[in-house]
């Protein structure tokens, strides 16, 4: 789909009538229907994918059918209303967070202008509080006394097909980035609300293909990309060939090797496409540099987990492969690569869902002897934690000048920042592998960082204009440091970022490209026995 020209979108964002730019809607939000048109929705999940998932143990994906958001009739099951209300009741009973978040909001509006979707679209229903009200209004109507007595006066409304359509539109215009929850006086987390909305929608067969296809791939082949074992291995081997051409160093990773000390898992996107490929080359070089005894797995070949964007059941099912594989291979612990939502799952859900990992040992760096007691139970270390420790102990032979062609800024990815607190480790690494880098303005970094705009499985091309709008706040702060300091690289630790920020930069700040942190680490490494070419562009140099 041809995307609107940047000048036109720039004008529309800043001057088009919206709640962001100064105009005020004429209709009450409850009276404004969700209108779908090509470009403002992601394509529905394909029938065979939904059917495949519905057959998997522990999963429930009913009502597979051909349908389109453009149609009036979404072919919902006959008793759809009952399913939704029962589903909501079940979730209220299972999640205290949902009850609290439904009851406590005072609509102070602190969250309103914190959402990148609202800033980029000006659509009132993209204010986080409104996104929650879409559900809260139904909750009031069916589960609260005030709602039952006062109805619309108390902000309650009847569940209708229109509401389903609205939920579909706005739960897929939220990237669960949690920025709003930082500012909320009660910590109300829109990610929780969006997760519940998406779970409820799946109960009546409303889901998008860009999420469910990777989910089904990941279940079957081990990774979102659907790479079968030999292809996965081939892809990594190609990267090893590139490394040898560039540096003269022969890297020989192993796959599914029993008895390795460490299992390494990263998003499959890293071995699939640029610029993630360079990040993967970074891991390979780093591990070779320190002589790490580790293995890749083709069965657990996905760090990411699109289950997080689907339902807690799917999240658990996909995540379970990691421990299963670690146990089968008999490794001591797991190192996880650079990925945002992956680390939300690993840090906040994995142990609860699939632990206890009593067959693993508390991670200890074989190079420095450091015990990672911050992961004593989960037994999974972030690559940045691992690398920062290596640098601190002087175990890496680094020549910063090898990175002089890059002037990075640092993008805190949503989940490592707000669901983990991984802020200083990557900065420490950056300090030690490049000669100069610049922070983006405050209010846009660390816990206040902006999402790439395409997380939670929204990185699909059919909604490109929406993505460029929602990514605008991030792009804008990058542009600021590009103009001011000549920043030419946006460094990050997230695979979705590497893919989506690349599109975003191409659109808004084409002079800036995107790099994984491990790529920059590897650029700077002085390898033993290297016969290095003149690498004016680091690992990206074309020979």
């Amino acid at each position: 789909m041809a995307i609107v020209k940047v000048d036109k979108l720039a004008k529309s964002v800043a001057q088009g009538p919206s709640l962001m730019t100064g105009s005020y809607p004429t209709m009450d939000w409850m009276d404004v229907p969700a209108v779908f048109k090509p470009g403002n929705f992601a394509y529905p999940a394909k029938v065979d994918i939904v059917n495949y998932l519905n057959k998997q143990q522990g999963l429930h994906f009913p009502n597979a059918r051909e349908w389109s958001p453009l149609d009036d009739d979404w072919k919902l099951p006959e008793n759809w209303k009952e399913i939704i209300i029962d589903g909501l009741r079940e979730r209220l009973d299972k999640f205290r967070s949902l009850k609290i978040f439904m009851d406590c909001c005072v609509r102070c509006g602190a969250c309103a202008d914190k959402c990148h979707f609202f800033l980029g679209t000006g659509d009132p229903k993209n204010m986080p509080v409104m996104r929650a009200e879409l559900l809260r209004s139904i909750y009031r109507n069916d589960f609260t006394l005030a709602g039952k007595i006062f109805g619309k006066m108390a902000g309650a409304r009847e569940m209708t097909v229109g509401v389903i359509k609205e939920w579909f539109m706005y739960s897929y215009q939220c990237t669960e980035c949690r920025r709003c929850s930082v500012y909320c006086p009660y910590g109300i987390d829109t990610a929780e609300v969006t997760m519940m909305l998406r779970e409820l929608l799946h109960l009546v067969g409303v889901g998008i293909n860009w999420i469910l296809e990777p989910v089904s791939n990941s279940n079957r082949t081990g990774n979102h990309m659907g790479l079968q074992p030999h292809t996965f291995k081939d892809n990594v081997s190609f990267l090893c060939d590139d490394i040898e051409n560039l540096t003269g160093v022969k890297v020989e990773p192993t796959f599914n090797r029993k008895g390795a000390e460490i299992l390494f898992i990263t998003p499959s996107a890293d071995v699939f496409a640029e610029p993630g490929l360079y990040t993967a080359m970074g891991y390979l070089l780093l591990f070779h540099h320190i002589g790490l005894d580790y293995t890749w797995s083709t069965y657990a070949s996905e760090g990411g987990n699109f289950g997080l964007f689907t339902s807690n059941e799917v999240m658990k099912k996909l995540n379970a492969k990691m421990y299963a594989e670690a146990k089968r291979l008999g490794v001591k612990y797991i190192i996880g690569g650079e990925c945002g939502h992956m680390w939300r799952v690993l840090h906040q859900y994995m142990d609860t869902m699939n632990g206890p990992a009593d067959f693993l040992e508390v991670p200890k760096s074989p190079i420095t002897g450091t015990m990672f007691d911050n992961t004593a139970s989960t037994k999974m270390v972030h690559i940045s934690e691992f690398t920062a420790d290596l640098i601190k102990h002087g175990k890496l032979n680094i020549d910063k000048s090898r990175n002089d062609h890059v002037i990075p800024t640092w993008h805190d990815s949503c989940n490592p920042a707000r669901a983990m607190g991984l802020l200083e480790e990557p900065r420490y690494i950056l300090d030690h592998v490049v000669n100069r880098w610049h922070e983006m303005p405050e209010n846009c970094i660390r816990e206040q960082t902006y999402c790439c705009g395409s997380g939670t499985g929204l990185n699909t091309d059919e909604i490109m204009e929406l993505r460029m709008r929602s990514g605008l706040p991030r792009a804008n702060s990058v542009k600021y440091v590009h103009d001011k300091h000549g920043v030419n690289t946006l460094a990050c630790v997230c695979a979705i970022d590497r893919a989506t920020l690349t599109s975003l930069m191409n659109y808004w700040v084409p002079e800036v490209r995107v790099a994984g942190l491990s790529e920059l680490v590897a650029n700077s490494l002085v390898m033993e026995g290297e016969q290095r070419q003149e690498l004016t562009d680091g690992l990206r140099t074309l020979l």
């Binding site: 209220l92 978040f101 800033l119 083709t298 099912k317 690993l346 911050n374 139970s377 989960t378 707000r418």
Partner: protein, 338 residues
């Protein structure tokens, strides 16, 4: 225009209690029965709501981290914003509840031609919130003098400080002014801030008007309509209410009954409304949990029995490819001769 109905509702409540209390014999209804019913509704409703929340488990530990995690020993851990022990969580909660720390972070975003987005610190909401809540708290504390005989020292201290400016006679309480100011500012903000105006519901305006009505009648009673107000009778009634021996000694002015009725409505309304944020703020999982999920396993009581797609199933499907590409397998391929 969502404020019209709540405003009318509060005016109606005032009229009901004004006219009602003037009907002979109705003093007992407005002075005793309604307050008792309201307090009972408040206590039962509040407890019910909290128990209702507590009945749902917290399946996952989902703190929002707003600072550096506890990780390597030489990296400075932000104990308040990414707490990893209970005492750190308590400190974070304390600052959240007492100082409204999250609101302190608030920014205002604007979009300019370019496009260019700007964010500037915006502490107005924090200020209005603090002004309102603390004024309200002090006023509630001051009113305890009516129910307690003798009046405890701390309450006298609160009173003394609140009237330290010594303006007028009877002396002006600062919190009377700041409460009304806080209410007006919060109401004004709802009207003037476009975004907040659009998302406000009738149930956001109602408590503002109701509390304004309570403040206005209270101030009228103390400073302007004093002549008919028999403070001795009021104290006797108040003490009687808490000792379950309520008596109405003499005719007390209507303004008192209006005040008392509005307070009763507020109490009864409280547990069924957003005012329950008073209880909820303590229970929010994104704030009251430690960021220690990789250190200690959190238990989900309903953890479903879901198994991954098994390795055996995976190898069965791809064994041939794996063997041909030197990827180790658990089961070799059947020999060609078979």
């Amino acid at each position: 225009m969502k404020y019209i109905f709540p405003m009318a509702a509060v005016i109606a409540l005032v009229l009901i209690s004004w006219i009602g209390s003037k009907i002979p014999g109705m003093e007992y209804l407005f002075g005793v029965l309604v307050p008792y019913a309201a307090i009972a509704t408040f206590i039962i409703g509040f407890c019910y709501r909290v128990v209702h929340w507590a009945k749902s488990p917290v399946p996952f530990k989902i703190p929002t981290t707003c600072g550096q995690q506890y990780s390597l020993p030489w990296i400075k851990h932000d104990k308040l914003e990414a707490p990893h022990t209970t005492s750190q969580v308590v400190a974070r909660m304390f600052l959240e509840i007492v100082l409204f720390r999250s609101l302190w972070r608030n920014t205002k975003a604007e979009i300019h031609d370019g496009p260019k987005l700007t964010y500037e610190s915006s502490k107005w909401l924090w200020l209005f919130g603090i002004l309102f809540h603390y004024s309200f708290l002090v006023i509630v504390l001051r009113h305890m003098r009516l129910f307690l005989d003798p009046v405890p020292g701390p309450i006298l201290v609160v009173e003394y400080i609140d009237s330290i400016l010594q303006i007028g006679a009877p002396t002006l309480y600062m919190t009377d002014v700041t409460l009304v100011l806080g209410l007006l500012l919060l109401f004004g903000r709802r009207l003037i801030n476009r975004q907040v105006r659009y998302l406000s519901l009738a149930n956001d305006y109602f408590p503002l008007f109701l509390i304004f009505g309570i403040a206005a009648t209270g101030i009228l009673m103390r400073f302007f309509l004093r002549t008919d107000v028999d403070i001795v009778s009021i104290k006797r009634l108040a003490v009687g209410l808490v000792t379950f021996q309520p008596v109405i000694l003499s005719e007390i002015s209507s303004i008192f009954y209006i005040h008392l009725f509005l307070v009763s409505v507020l109490l009864a309304y409280f547990p069924y409304s957003k005012l329950m944020h008073l209880g909820g703020v303590f229970l929010s999982p994104t704030r009251n949990m430690a960021n220690d999920t990789r250190i200690r396993r959190h238990i989900n009581p309903w953890n479903p029995d879901i198994k991954p797609h098994s390795y055996a199933g995976y190898e069965d499907e791809f064994r041939e490819f794996m063997v041909n590409n030197d990827i180790p397998v658990e089961k070799e391929l059947p020999s060609k001769a078979d």
